[in-house]
Symmetry: C2
Subunit: 153 residues, 2 copies
Amino acid sequence: MKLVSPGEAAANTNDMSVEAGEDLARIGEMAKNYGVTLRTLRFYEDKGLLNPRRDGSTRLYTRRDKARLKLILLGRKVGFSLRDVKQMMDLYDPTGSNTKQLRLALDKSEKQLARLQKQRALIEDAIGELSNSMAAVRQMLIERSAPQASVAS
Amino acid sequence: MKLVSPGEAAANTNDMSVEAGEDLARIGEMAKNYGVTLRTLRFYEDKGLLNPRRDGSTRLYTRRDKARLKLILLGRKVGFSLRDVKQMMDLYDPTGSNTKQLRLALDKSEKQLARLQKQRALIEDAIGELSNSMAAVRQMLIERSAPQASVAS
DNA sequence: TGCACCCTTTACGTTTACGTCAATTCTATA
DNA sequence: TATAGAATTGACGTAAACGTAAAGGGTGCA
């Protein structure tokens, strides 16, 4: 039922390929190269973020898939949801100027930046409160460990 | 089926009460006073974090419950899980020195502080990356909006 | 008495990004 | 040929902290 083995596919120029050296990768290699799990790659595909080509049932990731994965990972790093990432990616049009895509990305980025800054503020607040509490707890421990000289200089 | 009405319970000194002015609160008042929902209070109780007294089926929160709720909210603010909060609270013993409780709290606090600092670092990293990307996107938008004078001084 | 409120319990739903089997198939290699 | 190493799909599980009905009791007041 198989037309071309993975080895052949990697070695040959595929009929439908855009160019010659397509250096396709299978899922295991992708996972290793980008520090994600197989499950993650399949999940991203399921969510419409990736669309690897197939050799029978085996996924083959092209340069384009790799670029998309990089974008996904960047997006996640800066805190975008996968939905956001997909929404932005879906606007990509290799033939146009992508102005709409860029504007959307910028808009989402501004909002995300605001969220991040608010989060940072919250975390710093929490750090402050926690440090305070810790000081108080330490003080209580000291008092409990040395209750004999309570008014010593 | 009811022994004492809420009004009476709030106005009277209950037999089992520790002291006189117990000023009990019902769940709605608690929610309002501490900015949480009814669901949240019931949820905390379900998780063993609160133990309000009952008048029939109506919850009555004592001073002690209010103190515990404050602690819970502080804990959540600094990022502890409810499990952590419970674990620390469960060690509370009004008759002892609570050294174990304090040590546990301090230990958990140190770890939480470390987590918070790591999170802050991650967020700052994300802010940096996002700002970079935004600058790049803005640049692309400029180039696309004014492609006529590409080499102008 | 009829409405407006407050309270109760039970229990399923939500969110996000995967983890973790399970059952199978395919392939290369010793 | 036996075995180990990839790959596949499918589908339930997980975490946390509640949200959101649904269905009902009880109380005061105009």
